[in-house]
């Protein structure tokens, strides 16, 4: 009856295991607001997750040092960070821990869209609000009630990339004839590329090729070769981080000549980490982003400066989304404390507070590209806008929207 021994061992092992771990107690009165952050801190997407974490720590420090949430008696925000390990199950496990052990009131995350979807299975039944920093359109379109998403969705990024390219061609008296779409084969890649495709179709332009590559690609040469065969006048590419570096390097080393290369979707090609890793190959690469680090508002300038002083790099996509998401959360908490003093942190009340917001001034508006945040019933921002940055002289500069641009886009690529 070996079974008995095995099982007893199991029981002893497990009970020791849980005894050693602190089971945190939920706090009844509002002395702190528990904010969970699920980000890919290790693994394929660690570059983004770590930037988001930096931003969250910075902004939460600032909110707390300025007196916390006034309507809740100066309650402070407390951050609980969990690593999704860049996997869908990791994000789910992280959400499981934040909801059941840390008992957070709201979760920001999980940057990768498909990872965010696996969290919702955990958060919805417990009515924990998720403020997504992931972009895929249907995050907010699957009937989940406790989710909002401030950054522009993936299809907006795709459309922005097309609008920019069309504009650049027009300025030079040209028309797009032979676009090629290249993207990784994950959820975000597909949806963003669909956004590119749809906007092109609406303009009556047919892409000559749509090339998918695996998320874990290590050698871009075959992809570049296929692009060359298609002989495009513009390449729309949707990469994450490591693949964007491979792509830029392969374009340079294989001497691919294309007048314009535009990345869509906020990650890769023109942010400081990609530029650092790609060296000279990054020059003249363009990408769309959900945040404009060069937004000329007072608060944004100040925040970007503080971020650079502390971490030594320019905040882009991941940090920017966290900036305005946290400040929006702060405003919602103020409203919730005023309107629902009995239970300001319940998922329902917090959602009502978020939905009632119409932000046109203050730190959230000053860090948002369009300067305006108001949520539609599905949880998306009605005034979502994306921008485009180009690498010029080793630094990203704003080139789109054209009316706000710091510099003219370099076109065609030399």
């Amino acid at each position: 009856m070996v079974v008995a021994v095995v099982v007893i061992a199991a029981v002893v092992g497990i009970s020791v295991f849980t005894r050693v771990l602190p089971l945190s107690q939920p706090t009844p009165q509002v002395s702190e607001i528990r904010v969970g952050l699920v980000e890919p801190l290790s693994g394929t997407y660690a570059v983004f997750g770590n930037e988001a974490r930096m931003a969250a720590e910075l902004v939460i420090e600032e909110i707390n040092s300025k007196g916390g949430i006034a309507s809740l008696g100066g309650a402070k925000l407390k951050l609980f960070v969990e690593d999704s390990k860049s996997t869908a199950d990791g994000a789910r496990l992280a959400a499981e821990k934040l909801v059941n052990v840390d008992k957070v009131h709201v979760i920001i995350g999980a940057f990768i869209s498909s990872h965010t979807l696996t969290m919702l299975d955990v958060t919805e039944p417990k009515k924990v609000v998720v403020m997504a920093d992931a972009l895929v359109d249907y995050l907010t379109a699957r009937g989940f009630k406790y989710i909002v998403r401030l950054p522009p969705k993936a299809s907006v990024h795709g459309a922005t990339a097309v609008d920019f390219a069309v504009g650049v061609f027009q300025q030079n008296g040209m028309k797009i004839q032979r676009p090629v779409i290249v993207h990784f084969d994950g959820l975000f890649g597909e949806v963003t590329a669909d956004g590119v495709y749809t906007r092109l179709r609406d303009l009556g332009i047919r892409p000559v090729d749509r090339i998918k590559y695996p998320t874990d690609i290590t050698d871009m040469a075959p992809i570049i070769e296929r692009i060359r065969q298609a002989n495009p006048d513009v390449v729309f590419v949707v990469p994450y981080y490591a693949d964007s570096v491979l792509f830029a390097k392969a374009v340079a080393s294989l001497g691919l000549k294309v007048p314009l290369i535009v990345g869509a979707g906020g990650t890769g090609l023109a942010d400081p980490d990609s530029i650092k890793a790609s060296g000279e190959a990054a020059e003249y690469m363009i990408n769309t982003y959900s945040y404009d680090p060069f937004l000329p508002t007072n608060y944004n300038k100040q925040l970007v400066q503080a971020f650079q002083n502390r971490y030594g790099k320019l905040p882009t996509e991941a940090a920017g989304i966290v900036f305005y998401t946290l400040w929006t959360l702060k405003e919602a908490l103020e409203v919730s404390g005023k309107n629902y003093p009995d239970d300001p942190l319940s998922g329902d009340n917090l959602m009502k507070a978020l939905m009632s917001l119409d932000i046109t001034s203050g730190p959230a508006a000053e860090t948002y590209p369009s300067g305006h945040i108001k949520l539609a019933p599905n949880g998306d921002n009605l005034y979502a806008q994306a921008v485009a940055l180009q690498v010029q002289g080793g630094k990203p500069v704003l080139v789109y929207p054209f009316d706000k641009a710091q510099a003219k886009p370099v076109f065609p690529r030399p």
């Binding site: 070996v2 008995a4 095995v6 771990l21 909801v99 979807l117 994950g186 959820l187």
Partner: protein, 321 residues
Amino acid sequence: MKTYSALGAAIALAAVPFLVGLNEYYLFLVTLILLYTTIVVAWQLIGGYGGQLDLGAGAYHGLGAVVTGFLMVNYGVSGWVGLLVSGAAAAGVAFLIGYPSFRLGLKEVWYALSSLALVLILQKIFLLWTDVAGPLERYIPYAEFDPVFMRAGTKIFYYYITAALLASTFLIVSRIRRSKTGLYLISIRENEEAAEMLGVDVRRYKLQALMIYSFIAAVTGGIYASMVGFYHPTLFDSWISIQTATLAIVGGLGHLLGPPIVSIILLTVQEYLRITLGAVIIGLHQVIFGIILVVIIMFKPDGLGPLIDSLARRFPASVRR
């Protein structure tokens, strides 16, 4: 005495959820630990008794997840049916790969490598096969509590399914070990040529062991998919293969008690390290886990099985067997 131990075992397994305070997160972790331990116990059939260092666990686990998930998502088929179908599918794949391999005399490092290759091949096949899986996660419809469909919001449901699976796997393996098949398998491991000369149908027994093991590994995959609520080709995970084989080796090849005990303890240690150290230095827990494995394999090449057996011998004889 025998009935008492069985009863004690059942009560103890049933008590675990209450020991962790019904906390969903800890329930999730203990369920995972029992799931992976189940694969380790089943692996004994091919590895411990058959002497083939199989690294295909990730392939069969993944197949279970994908087939069960596919049936649940696309046809609304109950997960219970899915588990059986996916188990049969995995056993079928095991046959297709195992039959030529054993027939053509593939063994040792070549067998280990080909089984590992299978994990990656299947992963990429299902990545390209978008009708069934593809690069996008597929989500199993949510249900608060639907035991017929095998889907529930609470992990306690999955915990008891897994506990029952582990107990039955253990019983199956211990029964096979005492049967004629088990004796033949051990004789193959000890000396394949000699066994063959004595007239043992080496291929048949190896193939049987492989198919039973792959069936059980697929069932664990199906339970996993239903518990996390989605499936994706990354569930064909070579790490599960490697983890399974190392835990079984550390537990002692061919020992009955060692592998499950070692597996439960080490996986618990790993989770504990992950929670406590993982936040300090990401991945540190993995290194410590790796060092523990290498040290045990280097200094106790037979694993901890003999040690655990001698400890068990201190119990009254009736508890032991």
